[in-house]
């Protein structure tokens, strides 16, 4: 017999009177996962219950706190090499759940926590699903996030339980719902008290074991618009039509999973079970071997890893509990920071030099809350309470009892140093000092404060409430406790950190500016603004480089380019056309005109075209252009790794995906490079280098060494 996790007993069976219970409780892991082996164990007990004529009800529950079943085994899914294997795996799971569904006795899934993917599908195969009042409950089918579709009958059973319109929302949008919402949409039949769960389960079971009890009594009847969409032919046509439009718009041709899921659901909606599940399994098999799915799974691992990031030297330290945080500099960024602090129950004390600036900060924060209220994520009174957590000041009163200071003043070293020198005197000797600088030297800044061991870069991305990344920048003096405190704060704010060494432009902006600058050179050579942006959108970027520049402001970008140019030389020389555009004051959105005109309808700014030779660019050339823009990033990222700015390719990929929206389905910048082939990257760069005689295309030593050693960024 082989020992190891695969053969561990993770499912248990017990009988009390006429109620049988199957309990998922993995002996070593924190959560329950549906591996093939676990499913097999489960199936054995289903048979056992089936064969015992004394059993009147079968209860399925979990022995884990806050978890029912977290889903299928992602490692197993990742390892599926052919569509056939995928299809078979899906079939195997489907058969077990069919077996469960076909029992003549009623079955009850008791959900007191997370029930995702396969866990949700198992529950769907039960007669009843009851949840507890646990706030940790999340139930849903997020498979499309991993580039696959629910393969254990989810696409077939969910529409039967919650109606087709809700089912499409959940499956295509990878949505998970709370217990209360699950009850509302009919996914749960009852909510029970967790504090008295044994009694409550028994009571529920006693109520249903009588064969006269009809499931229909528990079923919620849809009303209004939803009833219309769910209950008649025209409604169905409309629902699928709308869902199709949404999915195509959001997937932009890059994400096949939601499109496939919709296709499967449309076909199986009225089909008999056998046929429906067969189509589902085929769809699963088709998707599971796609590069997109493999990449999305890798990105999933990355984000999970980085969410929990903790350097070994900090592992034993307790991050301080930050109750109040000062924000230096209001404005849009400071306001955004104050908002994210207050949203996470941290009191914010915002300082600026005049009331207009403070008012702007409050406006920025209020705007975010206003949107949350409009989207019904917050009640107006909750938004008021959150806004009340932000107070403003012109001086340093109220700083003495702050646990941390986040600086977000204008990007000028002299100003930042003055502000930090003052602030560090106004706070306690060990108060955490954080700078939101996007490119200035953190080491230099730290010189202005007493006890620089408490100083770090804490770089948010704009807009603060939407961008999940924070770049943590350490100096030689930063203490492990400071790192632990900063990581604790990142987590508290619900963000994901990457840890980078202090170096000009840090990581994300350095790589990003190489990209935007390249777009400038290409513009100069004659490509149109729209075509440059289009080609990168086609690559999968959420917006093109010049649109991005308009959002951030060209002045900001060029300023960082100068810093990088000073530090790294020639290769970061701002594209000359940028300087010309700057001179005209065409900064972007904030000045109303940039590469585009920002009025009611955005349109290309015709003035830009007059600054360079007109030239028609063929589709073929455009493809080459996208390679130029991507490959200068790879080149620069490899240098960052070489210099130890970050300690691995995964940090680069997390940074670029979360900080700039680099397309997750590509697996990340360096994952993309690996897939393209390092030698291939070098070849392209070399030929560009020869053609333009520009240093920025010269392949880095790091890349060349990799090619020589035949290695890749990620181990194979």
């Amino acid at each position: 017999m082989k020992w190891g996790p695969a053969t561990e007993v993770a499912v248990f069976y017990k009988v009390e009177n006429d109620i049988a219970t199957i309990e998922f409780n993995h002996p070593t892991a924190k959560v329950n996962i549906l591996t093939s082996d676990v499913i097999k164990q489960f199936n054995g007990f289903v048979t056992q219950a089936q064969n015992d004529s004394n059993i009147k009800v079968l209860v399925i529950r979990s022995g884990k706190k806050d978890v029912f079943i977290a889903g299928a085994d992602i490692k197993e899914i990742e390892g599926i090499a052919t569509s056939d294997v995928g299809e078979k795996k899906a079939n195997a799971g489907q058969n077990v759940f069919n077996h469960l569904e076909d029992l003549t006795i009623p079955t009850v899934a008791v959900i007191d926590g997370v029930a995702l993917g396969g866990g949700c599908e198992l529950a769907l195969a039960c007669t009843y699903r009851i949840g507890t009042f646990n706030e940790k409950i999340r139930i849903g089918l997020p498979e499309v996030n991993l580039g696959i579709l629910p393969g254990f009958g989810g696409t077939y059973r969910l529409p039967k339980v919650v109606g087709i319109s809700q089912a499409l929302t959940i499956i295509l949008g990878a949505k998970t719902v709370s217990g209360a919402d699950a009850l509302k949409i009919g996914l749960f039949d009852r909510l029970i008290m967790a504090s008295n769960i044994e009694f409550e389960i028994k009571k529920f079971c006693d109520g249903i074991k009588d064969s006269s009890t009809r499931k229909a009594e528990f079923q919620r009847k849809p009303k209004g618009m939803q009833a219309f969409l769910d209950n008649n032919f025209i409604g169905h046509v409309l629902t699928f039509e709308m869902a199709g439009k949404n999915v195509r718009q959001q997937a932009k041709g890059f994400y096949p999973a939601p499109v496939k899921a919709l296709e499967v659901m449309k076909e199986t909606f009225a089909a008999p079970r056998e046929k429906a599940l067969d189509l589902e399994a085929k769809g699963f098999g088709h998707l599971v071997v796609s590069d997109v799915s493999k990449n999305l799974i890798k990105v999933f691992y990355l984000t999970e890893k980085f969410k929990k990031l903790m350097p070994p030297e900090c592992a034993a330290l307790t991050p301080r509990n930050i109750k109040k945080c000062a924000v230096l500099g209001a404005g849009v960024m400071g306001g955004g920071i104050a908002q994210i602090l207050s949203a996470n129950e941290i009191s914010a004390r915002v300082k600026d030099v005049n009331y207009d600036a403070l008012a702007k900060g409050l406006q920025a924060a209020a705007k975010v809350y206003h949107q949350l209220v409009q989207r019904r994520r917050l009640k107006p009174s909750q938004a008021t309470a959150k806004m009340a957590k932000i107070s403003t000041t012109l001086d340093y009163t109220g700083f003495a009892n702050c646990d941390a200071v986040i600086e977000a003043v204008v990007e000028k070293m002299e100003v930042k140093k003055v502000v930090f020198a003052q602030a560090s005197k106004a706070v306690a000797a060990d108060t955490l000092l954080l700078s939101n600088t996007s490119a200035l030297s953190v080491t230099e800044m730290a010189k202005s404060v007493e006890n620089p061991s408490r100083f770090m870069g804490f770089h948010f991305f704009n807009p603060v409430h939407r961008m999940p990344l924070i770049e943590l920048v350490y100096t030689k003096e930063t203490s492990p406790q400071t790192m632990a405190d900063a990581l604790g704060l990142v987590r508290r704010l619900g963000k994901t950190p990457i840890i980078v060494k202090d170096s000009p432009g840090f990581l994300v902006n350095r790589i990003l500016l190489a990209y935007i600058n390249e777009a400038g050179y290409i513009l100069e050579e004659g490509a149109t603004v729209a075509s440059i942006d289009r080609v990168m959108m086609d690559f999968g970027m959420p917006m093109g480089p010049l649109t991005l520049s308009d959002e951030v402001g060209l002045d900001v970008g060029v300023k960082v380019l100068h810093i990088l140019n000073d530090a790294f030389g020639e290769r970061f020389k701002p594209a000359p056309i940028f300087e010309k555009i700057l001179e005209k004051g065409l900064l972007g959105k904030k000045s109303g005109m940039g590469f585009y005109r920002h009025r009611q309808n955005r349109s290309s700014n015709p003035f830009i075209e007059t600054l360079r030779p007109a030239k028609v660019i063929s589709q073929e050339q455009l493809r080459e252009l996208s390679e130029r823009m991507i490959f200068v990033m790879i080149n620069e990222a490899s240098r960052c790794l070489d210099e130890g700015v970050i300690d691995g390719p995964d940090g680069v990929d997390v940074g670029m995906i979360m900080g700039t929206g680099f397309p997750p389905f590509r697996g990340g910048l360096l994952r993309y490079a690996d897939q393209y082939g390092i030698q291939g990257v070098i070849d392209v760069l070399t030929s560009l280098h020869e053609r333009f005689d520009a240093e920025r295309f010269k392949p880095s030593t790091y890349l060349l060494q990799m090619a020589q050693k035949r290695t890749t960024f990620y181990p194979v």
Partner: protein
């Protein structure tokens, strides 16, 4: 016995109804002053034993508004809170209740104050409309729904205005302005005297703009957050006696004397104060602005509510064992110019003193020590907050001028008077 210390206080600017604080609720207004008071004093809010605010028009969405204020301002949820209402003296009542709690050993440190958003007084449905609407919501079938709908008449939609109802005394049926007219006739106080008094209030408030800044927290009000409010906005810079004389009497068109110009303004505002035992202040290393020496409340005829201070003042002097001569500064809330003037006349009158047994306690009040930084005619009268403002303004004034004693007093709608003596 331990003295009751008032160690710090702050208030929002007082702003005319419907102006800059139109979108700000009474609880938010108070939270601005509390939060900033906590920030500036660097007091750990954990030390607060109780929160007591005065508020008159208690908002429907903030039952027990003190608790809501506490939650909005970062006071821990473990600290209890309750609200007091003594109409126009609610802001004194909160401080007095705090003092009584402290004296009885129930608390050592109370966050007290008062708040009022008169901009947000509700318009109410008439009872008939309320009944038709609830009938409609109870109606099961289309027929009975229709029946309910057909009962509606245009007249049902005219609202009952909360502010108007609040300013009308249900016992005597007079509104506050009409009670002021009663005093004008009884004490023979002319329109000219009243306008003159009002003009001084504006002039003094104007001169004290920078002084008053010491007690004001600048507020950037939502929901627009367009700009800062640093000053009370009811003070009229170029107020003239001629302009005041041109105004028509409001409550008695023809023979009346009370105008919008010589009455207090309807205003939004909030005040927060730290009230604690002297020993607690020492422990927390806080220097008291002053102490509450004595307080008194008097009941008067509802139709003559404005005369309240003329009774409360001698009563509080007696309790403190003082006479008017011992008092170095006085604030009498300017609900109406005529009402303050009537009180002054009564206090100076031998007959009044003998009639009510106040002999030896009162006398004529030197206008030079009365409402020296202006009063409610210029600054406004957010009813629940005013009492606390008088205490705050008085203590700041006493500290600025190094005065030993001060007296604050208010008339109270419904027929009461309040008075308190502060000392250093």
């Amino acid at each position: 016995m331990e003295r009751i210390a008032i160690v710090a206080g702050l208030r929002t600017p007082f702003c005319k109804m419907g102006s800059v604080f139109n979108d700000v609720s009474a609880q938010e207004l108070a939270a601005f002053s509390v939060r900033e008071l906590l920030e500036r004093s660097a007091v750990d809010p954990k030390n607060i034993d109780e929160v007591i605010f005065g508020n008159v028009g208690q908002p429907a969405d903030a039952a027990n508004i003190s608790r809501i204020i506490a939650m909005l301002s970062g006071v821990p949820f473990t600290t209890p809170a309750f609200t007091v209402n003594r109409n126009c003296a609610s802001g004194v009542e909160s401080v007095v209740t705090a003092a009584l709690k402290i004296k009885s050993g129930e608390a050592r440190f109370v966050l007290a104050g008062g708040t009022e958003s008169m901009s947000n007084y509700p318009f109410l449905f008439k009872k008939e409309l309320q009944e038709i609407l609830s009938e409609l919501s109870r109606a099961k079938d289309f027929g009975s729904k229709l029946k309910a709908i057909f009962k509606l008449r245009p007249g049902h939609y005219s609202p009952r205005i909360g502010l108007q109802m609040g300013l009308t005394d249900p016992a005597c049926g007079l509104n506050m302005g009409q009670t002021a007219e009663v005093l004008a006739k009884e004490f023979g106080i002319t329109r000219e005297e009243q306008d003159e008094f009002a003009l001084v209030s504006h002039q003094r408030a104007m001169q004290s703009r920078d002084i008053l800044k010491e007690e004001i927290v600048p507020v950037i009000p939502g929901t627009k957050y367009k700009g800062v409010v640093e000053f009370d906005n009811g003070v009229r810079e170029n107020q003239t006696i001629e302009a005041l004389a041109r105004l028509k009497p409001i409550f008695d068109r023809h023979s009346g004397t009370v105008t919008a110009g010589n009455s207090s303004q309807v205003t939004d505002g909030a005040v927060a104060l730290f009230v604690m035992s002297e020993s607690r202040a020492k422990e927390l290393n806080l220097k008291p602005m002053g102490f509450l020496r004595a307080f008194a409340f008097a009941g008067v005829e509802p139709a003559r509510m404005g005369i309240g201070p003329a009774h409360a003042i001698p009563m509080v002097l007696q309790k403190a064992g003082m006479t008017l001569k011992d008092i170095k500064a006085i604030e009498i809330n300017e609900a109406f110019a005529v009402q303050v003037l009537a009180c002054l006349k009564a206090l100076a009158s031998e007959k009044f003193a003998t009639d009510f047994g106040y002999s030896g306690l009162t006398g004529s009040i030197d206008r030079a020590i009365l409402n020296v930084n202006g009063g409610a005619i210029a600054l406004g009268h957010p009813v629940g907050a005013t009492g606390s403002r008088l205490i705050l303004t008085m203590l700041k004034h006493m500290n600025r001028k190094d005065l030993s004693t001060g007296l604050v007093s208010l008339c109270i709608g419904g027929g009461q008077g309040a008075a308190a003596i502060l000392e250093r």
